[in-house]
C-alpha cells in the first residue's frame, strides 16, 4: 500500500510538474473555458445552460486523450516499464495509477469550472449535485480508461495523435458540447452516439441539470460504465512492458471492443 501511495503521489505530481501535462491537465482546459465563456455565451444563448458539463468534458478529453497516453508510450520505449518490472512494480499499478491521478486532475479542474462558471458567465448550475458528481466520476473514469487504452495499444506518438484525435475532434463538433445534439441531422445524431461525450451530456442534462434528455439518461450511464470497464480491463490485458519483447504480444485490435456499448446505443437508442 505504501508503494502504491508513493507511486500515486509521484504520478500526480508529474501531472503538475511536466510542462506538457500541465498544459493538457490545467492550462488548455481552463484557458479554453475562459475563452468560451467570453465568446460563446454572447454568441449562442443555448450554450450557457450546458456550459459547465461542456467545459468539464473538454477538460476531461484534454487530460485523458491528449495528455495521458504519451507518457505511457514514452515509458515503454525508454525501458522505464522494464525497470519497473525488474523492481517489482505490478502492471496493475502502472495501468491503474495514471487513471486515478487523471481523475484527480479532472476533479480539480471541474471544481474550478463548476464554482466559477455561474458567477462569471451566468452558466446553468446543477439542480441535483449527487447525480452531477456521479456522472462526473463515471465519465472521468471512462475517459481515463480510454486514454490509458490508447497509450497501451499505440506503438508510437504518431499513433496516439491519430487515435486520440479520432475521438477528440468529432466530440468537439458532434458531441453536444458547442451545440445541442438535438440540433444535428438524424444521421449525424446517430453518429454522435458513438461518442462518450454525447452520453455524458445526455446524462448530465437529464439527471443533474433538470433539462429534457434526448433519451433515458440511465442508458447513457450504463453505456459509459460498460465502455469504461471494458477499456480498463483491455488496458490491463493488452499492457506490454517492452516494445522489443513480443513474448506477451496480444492483438491491439481487441481495443475496438470498447466501442461495442456505443454501437449498440447508436442502433437501439434512436427512435
Amino acid at each position: 500500500m505504501t508503494a502504491f501511495f508513493h507511486h500515486f503521489m509521484y504520478d500526480f505530481r508529474t501531472g503538475l510538474r511536466d510542462k506538457s501535462l500541465l498544459l493538457m491537465n490545467y492550462l488548455f482546459p481552463l484557458g479554453f473555458y475562459i475563452l468560451m465563456g467570453l465568446l460563446m455565451t454572447g454568441l449562442n444563448p443555448t450554450f450557457a445552460p450546458t456550459m459547465i458539463p461542456a467545459m468539464i468534458l473538454v477538460a476531461m478529453m484534454a487530460c485523458t486523450l491528449l495528455g495521458l497516453p504519451n507518457p505511457v508510450v514514452e515509458s515503454r520505449e525508454a525501458g522505464i516499464f522494464r525497470s519497473f518490472k525488474i523492481n517489482g512494480v505490478p502492471a496493475l499499478s502502472i495501468v491503474t495509477i495514471p487513471v486515478l491521478s487523471s481523475c484527480v486532475h479532472i476533479i480539480l479542474v471541474s471544481t474550478i469550472i463548476t464554482f466559477t462558471a455561474g458567477p462569471l458567465f451566468k452558466a446553468g448550475i446543477p439542480v441535483n449535485w449527487g447525480y452531477f458528481v456521479l456522472v462526473l466520476l463515471l465519465t472521468a473514469f471512462t475517459f481515463a480508461s480510454i486514454g490509458m487504452l490508447i497509450g497501451v495499444v499505440s506503438p508510437n506518438s504518431r499513433a496516439i495523435v491519430l487515435f486520440s484525435q479520432s475521438i477528440f475532434l468529432p466530440s468537439m463538433i458532434l458531441g453536444g458540447l458547442m451545440v445541442p445534439s438535438s440540433m444535428l441531422p438524424p444521421t449525424l445524431y446517430r453518429v454522435s452516439l458513438l461518442l462518450p461525450t454525447s452520453h455524458a451530456m445526455n446524462a448530465w442534462k437529464g439527471l443533474a441539470f433538470g433539462m429534457e434528455p434526448a433519451f433515458d439518461p440511465r442508458w447513457a450511464l450504463l453505456i459509459l460504465l460498460s465502455s469504461g470497464m471494458i477499456a480498463f480491463a483491455l488496458a490491463i490485458y493488452l499492457f506490454s512492458w517492452d516494445s522489443k519483447n513480443k513474448q506477451r504480444d496480444r492483438n491491439p485490435f481487441l481495443a475496438l471492443l470498447t466501442l461495442i456499448p456505443y454501437v449498440l446505443g447508436a442502433i437501439f437508442l434512436v427512435a
Binding site: F5, T14, G79, I80, G88, N245
Partner: protein, 309 residues
Amino acid sequence: MADDVVLVKDFRKVYGDTIAVDGISFEVQRGEIFGLLGPNGAGKTTIMESLEGLRQPTDGSLNLLGVNPTRQPNRLRNLIGVQLQASGLPASMTTQEAMEFFCAYHQVAPRPDLLLRLGLGEKLTSQFSTLSTGLQRRLALALAVAHDPPVVLLDEPTAGLDVGSRVELHEVMRELQARGTTIILATHDMAEAEKMADRVAILLKGKIATTGTPTQLTATGSGLVKISVSSEAASLLQETGIFPEVSQQLIKDEYVIYYSHDAGETVPAILDYLKAHGDHLVDLRVERPSLEERFLEITQPDHSNGGMS
C-alpha cells in the same frame, strides 16, 4: 557447487530465425565479479535480461539462488539489483522520489546514506533528466543496491563516464564484493573487465568462446609479449629480424616494438646488441598481452597482433 549463486545450463534463446544465445553454460560463485564480454550482438544483453526475468529461455535452465527467473519473478525481485544500460527512470522523477519509489516496492526503508555515498546528496530534488550522465549512472547504481540484493547485474555501468566517476563506481563495486555481493558485469570496456572481474566469459555469436580469469585468458592467447625499446643512438631502428623469438617488429615514435614468443631470449639479445654497438638504453618495457588484445584475437582474428605475425 554449494557456493554457486548463478547457474546457467545449456541456455539457448532464439528470436524468430535468429539464434541470440546458443546453448551456453556457466556458473558464478558468491562474492565473485563475473564479466560478460563480447562484441555487439554476441548475446550479452539477452543473457542479462533472461537472468533479470525479462525474457524466457527457448531451452536450457537459469537459476539464481535457487530461483527460476521467469517462473518465480516475485521471489527474484529482492534477490537481484539491476543497473540497466538505458536509464530506466522517468525524466521528471527526482533523486529522492526515485529512492522512495523503488525502496517502497522492495519493501525496505529508503537509503539516503547511499545517495550521499555516491555524491547525490545535493541532488535530492533534481529531476532525473537534469542530472549529468555520471550522476544518472550513480543514481541507477544506488537504486540497484538499495535493497541490499545478494546478486547485482550491471550492464555497461561506466559507459560514458569520466575517469573520476569510473574510479568511484569501481570502488563501490569492490565494497559490494567485500560484503559478499555477487556481481555480473556486462561490458565493452576490456580495461574495466581486466581490472574488476575475477572471471570473464568472452561471447561470440551466442556462444562462449572462452572463459577464465583475465590472467588465464591473456596467458592462453598467441603468447606474444610486447617489448618496447628506446636507445640513445637509435641503432635498433635499422635492424630487422636479428633477434630470437621475435615474430613481429614495429617502429612507433622513437621506440622499436618487438612481439616475442619468449621475452627471456629476446631481451638479453637486445641488450647484448646495444652494448656491442656502443648504444645506451633509454627505456625498455616488457608487457604481457592485455585482455583487449586477447579479446581481439578471439573476436577479430584478422585484426589482432597475433594475426599480423
